[in-house]
């Protein structure tokens, strides 16, 4: 039986897939989540969307899209792309909550002050609300990264060979039940730690002086 050591490159390769899923999923989630948060901030009722995306298990969303919606629409979207879309849609619901609470935490007095010097509403959003809200969101956002990292393993249902899938293959091929998962766990831990640390570093550099613990 081949040893687990031989499979290490194979396992590591999975990180590329996992990280692509995470990066693209988070980006999609951001590009949808931020506008949704802004719209909700100004009173739009988008609860139905958030409720649906948060309440639906990822595997259900994945299957719904891949076996139901896309064929019904007649479009052929591949497993990887569908995974990204499913991850992104779900993330957008959570990210919109993060951004909404951040927007709400910006003191409304600043909004009135911005208007009082003649700013149009979109300028208020661009120059006063977003710069502060985005900075405030960073800590919660790194949470979203960590969660997305774990969620990405579900994409194997569509044949995307990310880390956990490979661990399973290795376990079967080598007869070793524990070691491959242990290594996968270490890999996930490292990726999570690297990502959240990076975000933490960025946060420290851009943090608004005067927010908790800064200055």
């Amino acid at each position: 039986m081949p040893s687990v050591i031989e499979y290490i490159p194979f396992l590591m390769e999975g990180s590329l897939w996992t990280l692509s899923l995470v990066a693209l999923g988070l980006s999609l989630g951001f590009s949808l989540g931020l506008p949704i948060a802004i719209m909700k901030f100004y009173g739009a009722r988008l609860d139905a969307y958030v409720w649906f995306m948060r309440g639906t298990p990822l595997i259900v969303l994945l299957s719904l899209l891949y076996w139901g919606v896309f064929p019904a629409l007649g479009v052929k979207i591949g497993p990887f792309e569908t995974s990204v879309i499913a991850l992104g849609l779900r993330s957008s619901a959570y990210q919109s909550q993060i951004f909404l609470s951040a927007l709400n935490s910006v003191d409304s007095g600043q909004i009135i002050a911005a208007r009082s010097i003649g700013m149009r509403e979109r300028q208020v959003v661009a120059h006063v609300l977003l710069p502060q809200a985005l900075r405030i969101s960073l800590p919660s956002w790194s949470n979203e990264y960590a969660i997305m990292l774990k969620d990405s393993s579900i994409c194997f249902a569509l044949g995307v060979m990310e880390i956990l899938t490979r661990a399973r293959y290795i376990s079967v091929a080598t007869g070793s039940a524990l070691l491959p998962y242990l290594l996968a766990g270490i890999l996930f831990f490292s990726l999570t730690h690297a990502g959240t640390s990076a975000i933490e570093l960025i946060y420290r550099r851009v943090r608004i002086k005067g927010t908790l613990g800064a200055g």
């Binding site: 039986m1 081949p2 031989e6 499979y7 490159p9 194979f10 390769e13 719209m39 739009a44 009722r45 988008l46 609860d47 139905a48 969307y49 649906f52 299957s63 719904l64 899209l65 076996w67 139901g68 919606v69 896309f70 064929p71 019904a72 629409l73 497993p79 194997f156 249902a157 569509l158 044949g159 060979m161 899938t165 490979r166 399973r168 293959y169 290795i170 376990s171 079967v172 091929a173 007869g175 070793s176 039940a177 524990l178």
Partner: protein, 270 residues
Amino acid sequence: MVGRYIAVLLLGLLLGAAVGYAIPKQGSCLFERSKFSDAPSGEVTIIYGFDANYPPFTVMQPNGTPMGFDVDLMNLIAEKYGWKIVYKPWDWSTIVTALENGDIDVIASGMTFNAARSQKIWFSVPYYSYVHQLVVRSEDKRSFDEILNSNEYIAVQLGSTSDEWADRLIKAGYKFKKLGLDSYVSALEALLDGRASAVITDSAFLGPYLKKDPYLAAKVKVLGSIGAPNVYAIATRPQDKWLRDKINEALEELMNSPKWNELLKKWGLD
């Protein structure tokens, strides 16, 4: 205002999904033409779907390509006709749907022929037969019936035919608790460390596995077989008549040649 539009959009999404599911799958009608209903012109590329979770039939190699009895089988068939094979690993739980949908063209992955499956996908001639077995630790002196009525854990691979057997036995009144794990390998580990008192697996997996690991073979013993023998076959879409005929032709030829025994021996399946 916007919220209402979004809600309608979502409803549409759900409806679309339901429709997508409900529409009789394009190609479920036998007389509709599909990719391999007739001999295709030009180069033939077969997308080969498998779940590399099942030694010695399909296992993943360090370089990312699969190996195993079924892999060799498909490669031999492809070689005979000059076909190109593209490997597509897929999760067992959705592999049949993948075949129906056209993401893959064949499944050769230790797939058991059964009546339920043959409603949606069609099988080639069987190429291997096996039987389900109850495995216990060597020093366990209990009988077959005693184990099945012990009220202890019996481990199986989730989603496999042995999983179905465990459910059937429990329903028939046998008193034990099912421990579902992700693979037969994990199930055996559970047996060795005491989390389970027995494992239901199949001879197709167990035979070669024990042959490769005499250390393990000494610690377990097969107590008996469960149910009638089963067979493995290669699966295709119902309308891919041409493909299936070709596969059957190749299989019959192969099984009648000395190459067959060589293949079985190579993977410990003799």
